[in-house]
Every structure is written in C-alpha cells, then in structure tokens.
Amino acid sequence: MLNTVFIIILGSIMLVAAFLAVYIKNLVSSVIAAGIISLLASLIYLLLAAPDVAMTEAAIGSGLTTVVFLLALKNIKQKEEDTDD
Amino acid sequence: MVSPIYILILSLAIGFLLSVIDKTNRKFSLTAFYGVLTFNVLVIADWFYRFLFLGVPTLTINTAGFRAPVSINLQLGVQESFVLLFTNLIGLFAAIFLYKKFKESNISSLTLYLILIMGVNGLVMTRDLFNMYVFLEILSISTYSLTSFGKTGKSLSAGFKYMLAGVTASTFFLLGVVFIYYFSGNLNIDFIQASQFTNYGSIALFLLSIAIFIELKPFPANGWALDVYEAVDSGIVSVIAVVNSAAILFLFYKIMPILPERFLNVFGIAGVITFLFSNMLALKQKKAKRLLGYSSIGQVGLLVASLVFTANAPQHLIYLIVGGFFINHLISKAGLFWLSGIVKHENISDWNVLRGNRSLLILFGIFLFALAGIPPFAGFWAKWELVKLLVHSKMLFALSAILLGSLFEIIFLFRWFTLTVKSDIAATIPRWDASKIFSTSFLGVIAIFFAAMIMKVYYGFSLIHILPVLAVLVIDIIDFLPSKVKGLLSLLAVLAYGYYIYPFESNIQLFFGIIFIVGSAVNIISTLNRTGKSEGFYGFLLMMIFSFGNLIIATNYLEFFLTWEFMTISSFLLILRGKQAQKASLMYMIFSTAGAYLMMVGFAFAPQLMGNSPLVISLANVQLPLISIILLSIGFMIKSGSLGVHIWLPEAHAEAEADVSSFISAILLKAGVFGLLLVGISYVKFAPSFDIFYWVGWIGVLTAIVGAFLASFQEDAKRLLAYSSMSQVGYIVAAIAMVSHLGWVSALYLAFNHMMFKSALFIAVAGIYYRTHTRNMYEMGGLIKKMPLSYITVLISIIAVSGVPPLSGFGAKWLIYTAFISNGWYLQAGVLFFASAVSFLYLYRIIHSIFLGQLKYEHQDIKEAPVWFIIPQYIFLGGIMAISAFPNLIIKPLNKIAMHYFGSSIRIDGYSIFSELGHWDGHVVMLVTMGAFIVPLLILLLLVGKTQKVKQFNIVYAAERPESPQTTHVAHNMYAHYRKALGGWGKPRIWNFWHSASEWTHSLADYFRHIYTGNGQTYVLHIILYVVVIYIVMGV
C-alpha cells in the first residue's frame, strides 16, 4: 500500500516537472526539469524492484543526458559570442 | 563453410579497430575496410550457392550456447541469403563508388559505413524481436550520421528530419515489442503465434507492424524520406534507398506470419496507394535525385504490396515476383543514383551530358528500361506474373492502381530518357572517374545476367525469343563498319531469319510473314542510302524486324507479349532518332505502353492455352471472355492508331527519320491488325453475348473517315501520309471486325495492298525529302520535270490507294463494299464510300503540290532521288501491277485462308469473281481500260503532231505574266473551303481531350505534392496521423 502512495506522489511531481520542462521559456531550466523527471523515474524503478535499471537511469538519464544538453547549449551560446565580437 | 555469425564478429572487430589502424596509415584502414566488405559478400555468396543448388536446409545459429527462446538465435535460409547477397554486393560496390571520398574523409565515416552494413546483416538474420530493434537502431543511427557525408549543404536539415521520423518510428517499434512480450510471453518470432493475441492484444502487433511500415516510407507520411533522397550524397543515398529498404522490407516479411489477415490486406492496399501516388507526384519533379526518391518509394510500396498479395501463391511464383521486383528496384535505383553522382547536375534536363560517354548512356538506358519494366529485364517478368496473380485473385482495384502507377512511371522515365538523348547540351561535361564507372557498369552486368537467368531457368525461352536483343548486341559490336555494309548484313540476316522460320503451320502466318519479312527486307534497301556509320540504327531495326517475325510464331501469351514489348521498345528507339522526335516518341511510348498494359490484363483474363502450337491455331478453340476481348481489342487498336487513340500516329510518322517512317506505317501498324485478327479467330467460334466487334467495326469506319479528312488538311507530306495510313488501317480494322468470309478476304487483301503502296509512297517522299530537305508541300512543286521516276511511283500508288479500277486498289474496294453490304452493315458501307471519296482529296493534294504546279527556283538543279530509294519503290510497283493484272494471284490464297474459318461466299472461275451481290473480272477490266487508254492516245498522237513546248511562266494569268512560283503554286491550305464547310466538325477534339487529360493529371500531382511542406515537425505530425488513420481503417 505504501508503494502506491509513493508512486502517486512521485508521479504527480514528475508530471508537473514535465509540463514545466515543456512550457518554460529559459532552455537551461527546462533541461533541469527534464533531469528531475529522470531522477524521480529512477526512484520509481526502485519501488518497482528493478535496482539495476534505477542505477542506470540515475547515472545516464539524469546525469549524462542533462550534461549533454548543457554542453549543447554552451556550444550554441559559444557560437553566438564568437560571431558577435 | 564459414558460419555467418563471423560476418558480425569480423565487421565489429575491424570496426572497433579501424580508428586505431588509421592512426598508422590510411592505406591499411582502407584495405581492412574493403577486405571486410568482400569477406561478407564471399561468405553469403557461398551460403547462397549451398542453399540454392545443394539443397542445404535453413541454418539456425544459437548464441550464448542455449536454444532459441532462452537466447537469441540467427537464421540464414534461401530468402535471407538472397537478400543479403545483394545488399552486401551493393554495399561493397557503393563503397568502391565512394573510394575517392573515403580516401580523404574522416575515418569515422568508414567505421559508420562498415557498422551500417553489419547492422543490415544482423537485422536480416536475427529472429529475436528486441534484437531487431537494436539492429534497427544501429542501422538508423549510422545512416543518420552518414547523411552529412560529402558535406552537401542541405543534407544536415534533411538528416535531422530523417532522425525525427526515424526516432518516432523506433519508439512505436519498442512499444510494440514490449507489449508483444507482455501478451505472448517471449520475444522470438518463431515462438510467437498469432493466436496468442486476443482482441486487444493485436494492438501490440499493430504498433510493431506500423513502425516497420513507417520506416518503409508510406505515401502521405514520407516527406522526410524525399528530402534525404534529394540532399544526401548519391553514393550514400543509393545505400539508403537499396540496402536499408531491403533490410527493413525483409523485416516486414519476417513478421508477416504473426500479423492477422486484415492487417496484411490494409498494408497491401497502402503499399499500392504509395506506388500510385509517389509515381504520380514524380511527374512534376525536375530534380533528378528527388524524382528517383519518389520512384524508389513507389517501388518499395510495390514490393510491400507484392509481398502481401503473393502471400498464398506457390513458392516459385513468390521468388519470381518479389525477387524480380527486388532485383529490378536494386539495380535501377543503385545504378541511377550512382549515375547522378557521376553526372553531378541537379535537374534532369542537364543529364544530356551523358551523351559525352557512350557506355554510360547505354547503362543509363539499361537502368531506365529495367525500372520501367521493359523486357528482358527482371521487372517485366515480375509485373507479368503479378498481374496474372491479381487477376486470378480478383483484386481489381489493386491491379488497376498498379497499372496506372506504372503508366505514370513510364511517362516520367521516358520523358527523362528522351530529354537526355534529344535535348541540346547546355551544362558542363563532368570528368568521368574510373571507380564510379566501374561499379555502375557492374550493375549493368547483373541486370543482363538476371534477365538471361530468368528467361533460361524460369521460362526456358530458346534462342529465337532472345534474337531481337542479340541482334542489338551483335550490331553494337560491329558498329565501326560503314552503314552500307551493315545494311547489307542486316538484309541478309532478315532473309536468313525469314528462311529459318519459313515452314509455318497455318497460311495466315505465311501471309503475315510475307508482309513482315519480305516487306521489311525490301524496305531495308531504302536504308542503304545512309552515309557514315549511323550507330545503333541497324541494331534497333533488326530488333524490330525479328520481333515482327517472332510475333507470328509465338506459341503462348507470354511469348506474344514479350515480342510485342520488344517491338514497342525498338520502334520507340527508332522514332527517337528523328531530329525533333522528343515529344513524338514520348507520346508513342506512352500510348503503346498503355495499350500493352491493357493487353497484359486481357491475356491474364484469357483461359490457359494447351499445347504449343502457334497462337493463330491454338486461339481458334479458346473461348476468350468478353472482358479480355474488349481489353485486347483496345490494346491492338491503340497500336493500329484507331480513332480516339490515334494522336501518336501522325507525330511518330512525321518526326521519325525518312526511311524509318515507311517501316512504321507500312509494317508496324500491321502488327496491331495481326493482333486484332487473333482476337477475331477466337471470336469466330465463341462469339460473346454482347457483340463487341460491331462497335469495333464502327470505330474502324469512323477512323477511316476522320483519317481521310485530317489527311486532306495537312501541310506536311509525311503527316498527310500518316493520316492516310490511319484511314486505310481503319478500313482493315472495320473489315476484320465483320468476322465474315468476305470481310477477312478484303481485310487481308487491303493489308497486303496497303503495305505495298504505303511503303512506295513513304520511300518516294523520303527520296524527295533527301533532295529538297523540306517536308512542307507548299515549299515544293513542279518536281515532275526533275524527279520523273518518283512521280511515276507516286502516280501509280495514288491510283492504287484511291481504288480507281485498273489497279489493285479497286479489288480491295470491290471486296470491302460487297462484304459490307452482304453482311448487312449498310450505313457503315455508306460512310466508307464517303471516306474513299474524300481520300481523293488528299491523294490529289500530295501529287499536285509536290510534282505538278510551279517549280521553285532553289529546286531548279536537283537530281532524281538516289538509286537506293528508287529500287524498293519499283519492286513495290511491280507487286502492285502484278496484283492488278492477275488478281487471282492473291485472291485465291486469301480465299483459302478465309475458307478455313467460314464457308466460302465467293466463286472464282477463270479471272472473274462472283459474289452473291455482284461480279468483277480483273482481267477484262484491265484489258478494256488499256484499250480505252490507247485509243485516245493514238488519236492525240496522230492529230497533235508537234506541240509547242511551253516554259513555266508562259501562261496568261489575269492579263499579266506571273513571275514568282510561290504565289502561283496552289498548295497552301488547299481545301480551305471544305474546312469552312465542315465548320465545327474540324476542331481537333481528340487531341484537346488527351492534352487536357495530361494537364489535369499534372495539376493533380502538383496539388498533392504540396503536402510536403518541408517542415520536420509537420512530417512527424503526418506520421502520427497516418498511424491513427491506418489504425481506424484496420478496425483493430
């Protein structure tokens, strides 16, 4: 019974985070929101008795995907500065 | 005996190490790269040989040491090795094609290419669903990255759109796989049964199958694919078009067993719609690669459809149809994309630079013809069998959509071909480099090898059927000889061929044999006048003549149709040689192919023929159903230029080269007549309920009258003769349609007669054109003084055409009118009278405006037509005079032929012929006319004595002497008053009809292609909508 309560809480936070990720104007914060979704997803995997998946999702989903997104944004901002000056 | 798993292992091992090897020297990495690709090809080829010829059972390779459902297993059978052999082969040759680029580009492009080929091998071999997903991902990701190979500008956005669509499809695939696991409990296809999926379970199957179907680029949801085809480097795009689609197609084939029946039918219909619409949209394309994109999407759609429709056909048929289309698509697409790589010009009108390199032009021809389904290439056989299959399984919607689609295909392919061969070169001629030409020509070799293999293994065709193509090859080899030598050689070849097929079984064959073989032999003499080399001319000419011969001795429908297609393609190529023949030959090809398709369906409906006696005999006791009679008759009438479908005839005759047009009008039209006769032969015993031939008769009669009127209003001599052929063939068609003894005697008599005087007329006009270099009659005049021999030929021929008594023409007229009246076709007889009366108009026009009237200044010093034109003319004249003097020479044998089918309705004793209505004695008529001619001649010779020779302008004309011949030569718009009298009837209604039909299709194509807005997001939306629509249609 405890599990379902946890899942419902985590699920609703994730849905809110998803809406935020889609509708926030600032790209960096929407990337962060996407990272949060993955993080909470790894928690849910724990509840679903799938530890391997939880670790992978935590490491890759929230960790690396967010890093890759930020790198991409840095690259794009980088290009803007080069061309401006 | 290497296990195929080593293909995956070696590719991966080398792939991982490639960047390291490259650190030392690019040469080593290149050798490793090409080594692996060749290794793959060799292993698969060895296995394919083992499966096909040694009957080795299908090989199953278990990984991880456990049996199937527990671990993943790979499978290699005949089908897998067939597909893999060709995908690896194309992979290897595309790599060779890109050798120059691979040498300079970043090493990771080689790795990507290698892993892509490995992905393809894996995808085809694996039996596990999730494993397919992984290999599909490998395939897609390496293709996404390779799209920007060769740094073409627009490829990045194309690649991104491709990714967006690919990613959506993979998500659906993953969902499908997982839910199938949920319902069936395991992931290996061999262990999943369709029964495990109850009503809602089939949604899982739907997700899986729709994902694959989207990867195969179905019609409305394939905008992304077109951008990729257009923007990406041509070497890579050929891999995408051929190798990727082959792998995904095989994936679709693998999961077909577990899909429910209604899924397959909807996918089949969606495939057909894709084929139809993408070919239609291709009509409006100007850019070569985008056009090829549309065409390859269409071909993939056709392949999916044929996979579905042949699901429960016998095994060897599936191999032929699906295998044939697959090889066809593979060769033509890879070849054409590589050619676009070689030519480097974007839109199709610049492809005429190909004329700079003869072998490339031939390859271009081979690929286009293979794609268009012209024999002997694989596509032709596959289409024939598919049509037969669809007809037997009553899938008429799919059949008509496929045929309409292939007609569109013919239109844009041959427009492209004629543009390349005919338009004048504007763009720069690129440098031809070796590696590209090597791999493209290799494809040409495969195409020819497969054509020969199918003909030998599947249909056991002997040498005689392949003779037309052999002739082209032989002449191509000896093409360096001067054209006169080649002309003589081909004349001997035709006579030898005639002698070879001489012992015919029925005398109808003998009669048409004389028309085709002897007629062509005499006509060839006129071609000896050519100077220089005239490359390729005699090859196609021999091809046409041999296919005429084969037509007569064909024993079954396929043989007849094969020869028919050879004849169409060779006559198309001959017409194409004319100076402005681009539009004319295109129109000819479109009409002939439409006719050919109708015939194909007609033959498919016809019952199977027993034994192998020639068609002429075996059709006598075959009950052709009504539908096949209608289709066949329309097909043959298109070929003989009947009313409504005649607009190609004047164009083809006028624009073809001088000596070619006599072949076309005198002999080619008779092929249509021979076909109609075949239908007639079956019609005799088994007349269908609805008397269709009555209406064919009316069409023939109307063709005659309209042909005569149109001929009278022409300014161009050859166009006038073309319309006159149309009108004469109208007579023959009407006579055959009567299906009575006298009808057929008159039809055959007129056919023979027409061949003779029409060839004589055309060769005479060819001679005049050779001298005066113009075809417009008002620019000639008064040539009687300069070219008396041609004048005599034309005089005698027009007397023969008009039917004025002493000559053979009257025999034809007498026979045909007696036949019509005795058969009860009274009104038709009246119209025919009117037609033959009107024929005087154009006959007088041609002889007056060319020979009589005022001689122009520039023609003061022209000489008589060259001897090569005179000889055949006078041979034909000899024939006409012989038949006029002794009509029994031909009436007796014809009577015997017709008696074979009907009771005889004429009595011949001595020289006079008695029908139930009237009588005619050719001999007496000839004598009396000679007498009536000599008497006044003598009177005049005696009385007139010395006449004062009067020079050209020594005439009194409105009280002053005319000085310029142009004004006083009555030739331009000679029957203006008649045209005014006809008023509304004179408008070119049929021409306008066909013109607006093509206009309408093009605007429809333009309307539909605007759904591809170019926005990646819209394409994803299209995909989602497509999934939903197919879901609703399937009613899962």
Binding site: - | I784, V804, L940
Partner: protein
C-alpha cells in the same frame, strides 16, 4: 475471233452513244438559250466545235502529264460507258458489262476525274488546280447520297449487277425503282445535279468566275478530245441512271429499244437542266454542305426504309 466482233460491236455502240450525247448537249444548249429568250446555237453545234478544235495546226503542251490528261479523261468516259449494258439482252449494246458491276462503273467515274486533275495540274495555270480542288470536294460531297442510293438499290434487288437490276424492273411501269424505292431515286437525282455540274453546283467549271482555266490551256485536239468525252460521259451517266432507276431500255427490236433509251435519257437530262436553269449558283462550301445535309438524310432513310421495312 469473237474478240474482233466484240470490239466491232463496242465501236458501234460508242459511236451511237457519242453522237446521241453530243446532240443531247446541243439540244440542252438550245433549251438554255430559249429559256433565256435568245435563239442559241444550232443543235449540231458540238459536232462543229469538235471538228474546229481538231483542225487546229499547233497545240501548246506543258509536258507529258499535260498530254496524258485528256487521254485519261476520255479513257474514263469510254471505260464508264463500256461497262454499262445499254440495251437489255442485246449483244451489240451489251458492252463489256461482264467485267464488273455498279461499283466498277462508279469508280470509273473517278478515273476520268483523277486523270483530268493530273493533266490540268501539270498545266501550271494556278486556276486549274483550284478548279480541280473544288471539283474533287464537290464530287466527294455528292458521292454520299449517290452511294447511299446505290446501296439501297442493292439491298432492294439483292444484287449489284446492272443487268439483273434492269431485269427486275421489267414488266409494268410500276415496278421501276422510281416507284418501288422513291427515296433512293430522289437522292440519286439530286446527286445527278452535282455530277452534271449544272447551275446550282456549277462552281467547278464556272467559266465566268475563272476566265481562263483548262479550256484555254488545253486547246487544239486536246480540247477536241475533251469535248467528245463530254458528250460520251454525259450519255454514259444518263444510261446508268436509266438502267438503275427508270427500267432501262428493253425491247426485242434494237431500234425501238434505242428510241426508248433516247427518250428516257432525254427526260433525265431535262430534269437537271430545268433545275439548273432556275437556280443561282452555290458557293463551294454551300454546295458541299448542301449535299451532306438533306440528300444524305434522304439516302439514309432510303436504306432504312428498304432494309428494315
């Protein structure tokens, strides 16, 4: 042996027909004059013309085809006449009707027309081809009702042989084609107007409009041959119409049969003359359109009437 006799008979019947044809044209010229209120030339004027043209010393010629033009023309006339049996049953006037039936005769009419066209064309005078063009178009137009009439007659008598048709019309005057198949006869008579080239359809040989044309170019004996042909050809056509539609000339006594033939042909000719004298001339397209409208309709009705009633 009988060939020489046969030729002899043919010469006799040609002479008779030509003489009668020329006198007929002379009479017609007389009637025209009378209708126009003048005396007109004597009836034997055509004979004088022929003698006068043949006596010319030198004729001009534009080349061998120009020379052959009149020959073709006259051969056409001769041929048409020789294949029509004038008097039923008589050998002398049976001519060579065993050679062919009505179709042969109809196509022989074209023979003359075509030959003349070639000759005039060679003449180099622009007006002659124009005249020929009009002549051919008009011929193709009036051919339609004529052929429809011929077809309906063929249906009616189940034969195209002229002799059998004439035989079928013997007995009383009532079983002439005129009464048994009136529609066909009307259509044929209208097309006869076109054939004879009298007033309403005389645009082809209208001397006033094209002042020079063939008559002037072809002078001397060429013109003579043409004029003899005009007589013979007219006679041949009239005899054909007589045989087909007006019971032909059949009487045991040759002279009486010839008399019947002369009377009948005279009246047939008078029909076209009366119509010609009282009608103005049509323009070319009017005449073509005229023939393709009502006469063709009558012809079709004739066929439908005979075939299906």
């Amino acid at each position: 042996m009988d060939i020489i006799i046969r030729i002899l008979y043919a010469v006799i019947s040609i002479l008779v027909a030509t003489v009668w044809g020329l006198t007929l044209t002379g009479i017609v010229r007389k009637i025209y004059a009378r209708v126009h209120g003048r005396f007109g030339p004597p009836v034997w004027q055509p004979f004088l013309d022929i003698i006068q043209t043949h006596s010319r010393r030198v004729a001009i010629s534009h080349g061998y085809m120009f020379f052959l033009g009149p020959v073709f023309r006259f051969a056409g006339g001769l041929g048409t006449y020789l294949f029509i049996p004038v008097i039923l049953g008589s050998t002398v006037f049976g001519n060579f009707s065993m050679g062919g039936d009505v179709l042969l005769v109809m196509y022989f009419i074209f023979f003359g027309q075509l030959g003349m066209a070639l000759g005039a064309g060679e003449g180099g005078h622009p007006y002659s081809p124009m005249g020929i063009a009009r002549g051919l178009s008009q011929m193709s137009a009036f051919e339609v009702p004529f052929s429809l009439a011929i077809i309906s007659v063929a249906i009616q008598y189940h034969s195209l042989n002229i002799t059998t048709i004439v035989q079928a019309q013997q007995g009383s005057i009532l079983n002439w084609t005129l009464f048994t198949n009136p529609l066909a006869v009307i259509a044929a008579m209208i097309s006869l107007l076109g054939m004879n080239g009298h007033a309403p359809f005389s645009i082809v040989m209208a001397p006033q409009e094209i002042p020079i044309g063939p008559p002037i170019e072809m002078n001397g004996s060429f013109l003579g041959i043409l004029q003899t042909n005009r007589g013979l050809f007219a006679a041949a056509k009239l005899i054909l119409f007589m045989n087909l539609f007006f019971g032909g000339a059949a009487h045991p006594n040759i002279l009486v049969a010839l008399l019947i033939m002369m009377i009948k042909t005279f009246f047939i000719y008078m029909f076209s003359v009366f119509v010609g004298a009282s009608f103005p001339r049509f323009r070319p397209e009017q005449s073509f359109r005229f023939f393709l409208k009502w006469p063709t309709a009558i012809g079709i009705l004739a066929i439908l009437y005979i075939a299906y009633l």
